[in-house]
Subunit: 392 residues, 2 copies
């Protein structure tokens, strides 16, 4: 069972507590956007302003909607939002060596965030139990319990087999290989749990809270030891038929290049993965370098570090140009640890994107650094939860 909905009818904010189709539309619009004025609600739902006004009054009286900082809830220019009474969404992020749980309300406000260290050797079941304990601690602090949780998003640093839902191997989380992570987490937590990969969570987080806010067609490229892209197209996460859309790390840049972990040769990832970048500088700049060290040295004027970061940006630019030609996003957000390099990487990348892409696809393209840093994962998991909690 991937999605469990037992007990849903007793929950606050559940669909059954929404009286009419119009109420449904208003709640859905607010939940999608986090906060809207009554005029915006009318525009997005197609309802008459007077209908929206009545609906907001009803929902406010029922404690389901609030006007932040306002004592004139009838004023149409004021932004309104759903209250905590409408339920909560949870994000769970299993990182390489840590576990983070965050809780948000339907107005997209993150209310609590808890983090513990975690060994990579743990069994999946134990990880889920720890996540449950962390979640309960967070809910306790908020004066809520699990009945308030509408949906849970979860991130795992491992490939997910889309056919079976199982965690693939070889993985840096050996205790999870062959496990249907969504199923065991849904069963243990008693709520629907949705699992997705780091690039998809990154694009959801940056789209909702970060550098991708306000966009309709957004690509997020994560540059770390793994390289991947997440796509929001027409305002929705796009996964592709088998769930593998956004595999920008495996575009072939050099047919006779290094053999890649995917089995191919000369993939973007073989040229720009963090350990590859570090490996280029280790012989001359010493062992045990981190990306942060390299960026700091480059900012201090080290020519080799500047050159390697620029070359990295240029390689990413070649692949990003293909992405722009094929998908034509309005914005590219660069995340992952290499995003620390900022303009040292983005400058050369922009130049190459302009060189390789068809002009009309990049004329108004905006390339910028991600804003959420290492929080992108857990916030993306929250965003996944928020999206899956949307009334149908």
């Amino acid at each position: 069972m991937r999605d469990s909905d037992n007990g849903d009818s007793q929950r606050p904010g559940s669909q059954s507590s929404l009286k009419s189709a119009n109420q449904h539309r208003v709640v859905r619009a607010l939940q999608t956007s986090g906060e809207l004025t009554q005029a915006e609600i009318a525009r997005r739902t197609g309802l008459a302003p007077a209908t929206v006004s009545n609906m907001v009054k009803e929902l406010t009286a029922a404690g389901m909607v609030a006007v932040p900082g306002g004592d004139h809830p009838g004023q149409r220019g004021r932004a309104v939002r759903l209250t905590r009474r409408m339920g909560l969404a949870v994000g769970i992020d299993f990182g390489h060596r840590h576990l983070t749980v965050a809780v948000a309300d339907m107005a997209h406000e993150v209310l609590a965030e808890e983090r513990v260290e975690l060994g990579t050797g743990h069994r999946a079941e134990d990880g889920v139990v720890q996540a449950g304990a962390l979640l309960d601690a967070a809910l306790d602090r908020l004066g809520c319990d699990r009945k308030s949780v509408l949906a849970v998003g979860m991130g795992l640093p491992a490939p997910l087999e889309t056919d079976t839902g199982e965690v693939g191997g070889p993985s840096i989380l050996p205790g999870w290989v062959g496990v249907d992570a969504a199923a065991i987490a849904s069963e243990y937590l008693g709520t629907a749990v949705h699992v997705d990969n780091d690039a998809n969570l990154g694009v959801l987080a940056e789209h909702m809270w970060g550098a991708g806010r306000g966009t309709t067609d957004l690509a997020y490229i994560k540059l770390s030891d793994g390289v991947g892209a997440g796509l929001v197209l027409d305002g929705r996460l796009y996964r592709g038929r088998g769930g593998t859309a956004g595999e920008i790390g495996h575009l072939t840049l050099d047919e006779f290049g290094q053999v890649c972990r995917c089995g191919n040769r000369g993939c973007l990832e073989t040229l720009v993965a963090s350990h590859v970048v570090i490996g280029l500088l280790a012989p001359s700049r010493g062992p045990d370098l981190s990306i942060a060290d390299i960026v700091a040295m480059a900012e201090g004027g080290d020519a080799a570090c500047i050159r390697v970061l620029a070359d990295t940006g240029r390689h990413v630019g070649v692949a990003a140009a293909s992405l722009c030609n094929l998908v034509n996003p309005e914005r590219l957000v660069i995340g992952g640890e290499l995003a620390l390099a900022g303009e040292l990487l983005l400058g050369p990348m922009r130049e190459v994107v302009g060189r390789y892409a068809v002009p009309s696809a990049v004329r108004s393209l905006d390339i910028r650094v991600a804003e959420l840093g290492p929080r992108a994962q857990v916030l993306g998991a929250v965003a996944l939860g928020l999206r899956s909690a949307l009334p149908a």
Copy 2:
């Protein structure tokens, strides 16, 4: 004025004639699919089978729905469809030297198709007047008039500036350059006219009637003198932020290759455009070759023709692998005149896609030849009309 809706309220099948929200949903489901059983309608609309059954009875009594070949309209297993009374959609295709107009009903049945020769030097206004005359002739033959037309799709063999809606230049239709084609056609025909490019029309046509039927994530690659792709993602035409998604013809395959008309070098189009393929064989196989000649010679065993078609397929395969890595469609449909080569082109293409793409993105990928041939354009224009006639 891009979309004109004057007179819409008097039209058959217009939104105002749909009584309830549920009726709306049933009509929308039928119009999207062309033909559905009552069980399928219930599944797609989320309405109870009994509600659907009543709705179908009502709509049948009103002459808006029919059960083809059936005299037991109450039977739930029988497919039902919208009647001609619900209105018509029109496709207008301005080809290089011809003008085609086709008319379909809301059940996706093409009822009439008219074609005339057309000089490339005509003025846009004259072209629109000719299209109107052809349309009236087709409607006459069907016993209908322009009041039945809900929406019109139009194809032009020219670049469209997405900011302004104007036809870009240099174009093979000089009389259209700088004209807002949708606006003048909407004004003259008195109905909303939607314009799109050949690759987008191709994917819409193949998705509705051809080799892409039943797919949710489809890519159509048109291989002719121009090379482009159209994308249907999550069941909807995807255009990208500026309308230039699918520019597969301008992926860089050779950084130091031929200069392309887009201003870049070594684009896929510089390697596989029809005239390039012909140019490779002209010195040894004679001038005035057509793609059809080359395919015929290859089928007769000519080694050079076989080799050139295979190389063409291999080049397309490199670009298609990038498309699959980034977009992960379930099917690739190859259209345009080079599709005549069939397996001579697709075999080598499949091999290269498998070599360059990440395995999970192409494991269940299906690559096949388009089914609609030169009719793809006008049928795509009809499909564009059908989609834009959908009740909101």
